[in-house]
């Protein structure tokens, strides 16, 4: 049993043990981790994405406007992000500029889903690495030694919040639906803006629900994340990774490219502006045709080769300036460096995210960044609510161009998201998606560099090979 039984006797400094965990549960999609452990720590890692659907092929030949609907179905947790990326690519290709109300309506739809996704991720996917649920399915079976360190009272509080968070995330989907039609998979985000002109009633209904959400985020979610840092303080010191970050920026504040969460690249300790031409996708270790390696997404080809020798994943390996980069809340918050929440300032004794320093690049650091981002987006949602104008146009009609290209760069809750469309004869000639999990969960590239999760696993403690709890904790800290 690769999953949980050591193949050799307890760890010795020079003895390597291989552990395979498949499936990695409580993520969206299909992922496998294979780690080598020596001396109680991970010394090497391979991450496998085990599923391929072929969206790129399926989109070819379709009406370009259908892309916002089709691509949402890539991810049922963050469909609004794919709708947004797709709509941005189409806006670009169609040459359409949004109305202020259209931009704000899109932000309100995506914003509510951001909050939903982060809350769902923390409580319903990640928290069960730190908290014991009730002793009944689906909370059992679990690792026999699962390293849950909370005292009973705190564990009970967390389980209570798990249940309350189910209600809160449902309310957030109601908010998405008020402007987006339904959720998962909204109708409301289209090329040219948003389909539903907000009424005063809809905005009031949104605002009324938002109050409960805000209270939960500030009074429950954020404090609980900081509370975990007590018993799990060592998890602020492990799971570092490459320390390279990409953020394309998200939530436009105007039509000039200013965004709430900033765009930026952080490579080897230096900050850079984003230049999409620096992105290349490598496939030497991916089940895609070798001839397609090293392409920029605007030249991209996605041709599967599921029996390719030496490959071990359906995920391509995107690199920025030739180097692996991590995406997600930490990357965005690092680029933005906002003031921390009141709880964060009190607990950490610092004022801004970058003041936290190296502890950010860790298992718990990523959860802190996600929680802080939730508070930041919540504040912005409140602002957009006050800016939204009932009855004002949200949609600008535009004709399908005979031929055009479009690039849509935004941020899914789990990281940098890029859609590229090439239109010929008013149909889709090429469509490429470089999604968040592609940035984080990729295999080695042609140069032999590990993907970000693979690299972040190096050094993670696995004292007990039968219960490799920290491997799952690290992987889920990326929200793949």
């Amino acid at each position: 049993m690769a999953g949980c039984k050591p193949q050799t006797e307890p760890a010795q400094a020079d003895k390597k043990i291989k552990i395979a965990i498949d499936p990695i549960s409580r993520i969206e999609g299909h992922l496998k981790a294979e780690v080598e452990v020596a001396g109680g720590r991970v010394v090497d890692a391979h991450i496998t994405g085990g599923m391929y659907r072929g969206f790129e092929q399926i989109l070819i030949g379709r009406d370009p406007r259908d892309a916002t609907q089709i691509t949402q179905r890539i991810c049922g947790v963050c469909p609004t992000a794919h709708a947004t990326a797709s709509a941005l690519a189409l806006d670009d290709a169609f040459g359409v500029e949004l109305t202020d109300n259209g931009r704000i309506a899109r932000n309100l739809i995506l914003g509510a889903n951001y909050l939903q996704s982060h809350i769902l991720h923390f409580y319903h996917l990640a928290a069960l690495d730190y908290v014991n649920g009730p002793d009944t399915a689906p909370f059992v079976p679990r690792y026999t030694q699962n390293d849950v360190r909370l005292p009973k009272e705190l564990n009970d509080v967390a389980v209570g919040q798990y249940l309350e968070a189910l209600e809160i995330r449902k309310i957030l989907h109601e908010m998405v639906a008020l402007l987006g039609g339904k959720m998962p998979h909204v109708q409301g985000i289209v090329v040219g803006g948003s389909t539903e002109i907000p009424t005063r009633e809809a905005l009031n209904a949104y605002a009324e629900r938002f109050k409960k959400v805000k209270k939960f985020v500030l009074e429950k979610y954020i404090p609980l994340v900081y509370l975990l840092a007590g018993p799990y303080g060592d998890l602020l010191k492990t799971g570092v990774g490459h320390k390279n970050m990409v953020s394309w920026g998200v939530f436009p504040l105007d039509n000039n490219g200013n965004t709430l969460l900033k765009s930026g690249v952080y490579t080897d300790g230096k900050d850079y502006e984003v230049n999409p031409a620096m992105i290349r996708e490598f496939v030497k270790y991916s089940w895609f045709e070798d001839s397609t390696t090293g392409l920029n997404p605007t030249q991209g080809k996605t041709l599967p080769d599921p029996n390719k020798r030496g490959a071990y994943s359906f995920i391509k390996s995107p690199r920025y300036n030739g180097k692996p980069h991590e995406g997600g809340p930490l990357a965005r918050m690092w680029a933005t460096n906002p003031a921390l929440s009141k709880t964060g300032r009190e607990k950490l004794g610092v004022t801004h995210l970058r003041d936290i320093g190296d502890a950010c690049f860790s298992i718990l650091g990523r959860h802190v960044a996600r929680a802080e981002e939730t508070a930041l987006v919540a504040m912005a949602v409140e602002e957009w609510l006050s800016q939204a104008q009932p009855g004002k146009e949200t949609f600008v009609p535009a004709d399908i161009p005979q031929s055009a290209e479009g690039l849509g760069m935004t941020e899914a809750p789990r990281g940098a998201l890029l859609h590229y469309i090439d239109i010929k004869d008013r149909k889709i000639a090429n469509y490429q998606v470089t999604s968040a999990t592609i940035w984080n969960a990729n295999p080695r590239d042609d140069m032999g560099q590990r993907g970000p999760i693979e690299e972040a696993l190096i050094g993670v403690p696995v004292p007990d090979a039968a219960n490799p709890v920290n491997v799952g904790r690290l992987i889920r800290s990326f929200d793949p």
Partner: protein, 319 residues
């Protein structure tokens, strides 16, 4: 298949709810109110008293997890009640705590222990190309377990199979024109393997949580619901959206929406596929009754076997 009633561990009289009353409950819905609201409290109490929780193994093929996320939006019974009182969710890749070999072995343990008495829920399409290589679910002792392999193994052991979402029912987007993975819906796949376990199709991209919960509860209460030609419960998929649309009057008067953001008029000129679509969204609405596709934009026919190809282009009239 319709004749084959499946009553896993359960007799209707145990719950004190007659089939007739139950059906009345299911269908007697007002606009904007999820019918699952009417399940409570009587049904939940009945289930609590009369039943052991019904074992469910939920597996995901080529999907997006949107069906599972939609189920989380169930109003009443809430998802917490469903998980803790109605079903015993023994395996679910997104919700379950177990991972790795622990999780996969547990799947087989449960299937063996409850052989013939558990429901298999399938979300996502089944890719048959390259021996199922396009969807790997896990491994046991270095044996790779694919979606095709697991459905083949568990399918005959289950008392019933619920195919949830349009990918699982009819192939959906993974099976659309251009696909290279051999993506297939559940019934089509089972037929090729001569597996005769009864299947309930609950399509939708995603399905409404009431359709999922309602079908599960119907299964527990009174067996397989009456199905239409496409294997869907008539209860939820029996009526045409256009014929029942609150905007039908507009259509009759040729009062048509002029653009996607035009709040007034029938949506057919901007692409609505309501006339080709059978589902009760027009009265049930979505997300606790907040909204629905036709009031927001257009119906894209996501519950139909031909979705997406037969409904595409989404923003051009069907006629």
């Amino acid at each position: 298949m319709k004749d084959k009633q499946v009553l896993p561990d359960v007799q209707p009289e145990k719950t004190g709810i007659s089939r007739r009353n139950f059906l009345k409950t299911l269908t007697g819905t007002a606009a904007g109110i999820g019918i699952s609201q009417m399940f409570n409290p009587a049904l939940i109490q009945a289930l609590e008293k009369g039943l052991q929780r019904h074992p469910v193994i939920w597996i995901q093929g080529q999907g997006c997890t949107g069906c599972s996320v939609s189920l989380l939006n169930s109003v009443d019974p809430s998802i917490a009640d469903i998980l803790l009182k109605v079903i015993s969710l023994q395996f679910h890749p997104t919700v379950g705590v177990a991972e790795g070999e622990n999780a996969m072995k547990h799947v087989y343990d449960v299937a063996n222990e409850y052989n013939g008495r558990f429901s298999l829920v399938i979300e996502g399409a089944i890719p048959v190309a390259h021996n199922g290589k396009y969807c790997i679910l896990g491994e046991i002792e270095h044996r790779e377990i694919t979606m095709t392999g697991l459905v083949q193994e568990l399918g005959p052991m289950a008392s019933s199979i619920l195919a949830i979402g349009t990918c699982a029912t009819y192939g959906g987007i993974p099976a659309a024109k251009g696909n290279v993975t051999g993506a297939t819906g559940v019934m089509a796949f089972l037929k090729t393997k001569n597996i005769t376990t009864p299947v309930v199709n609950i399509p939708g991209c995603p399905p409404h949580p009431d359709w999922i919960v309602g079908s599960i509860v119907h299964l527990l209460e009174s067996g397989i619901p009456e199905l239409d030609y496409d294997g869907r419960p008539k209860l939820f998929f029996g009526n045409n959206i256009h014929d029942n649309c609150p905007r039908l009057e507009d259509y009759d008067e040729a009062f048509m929406s002029m653009s996607l953001s035009d709040p007034m008029g029938c949506r057919m000129d901007v692409g609505c596929k309501g006339p080709d679509t059978y589902a009760d969204c027009y009265k049930r609405k979505w997300n606790s009754g907040m909204n629905w596709c036709v009031d927001n934009a257009v119906c894209i026919g996501c519950v139909e076997p031909g979705f997406p190809d037969a409904m595409s282009p989404f923003y051009e009239p069907a006629y």
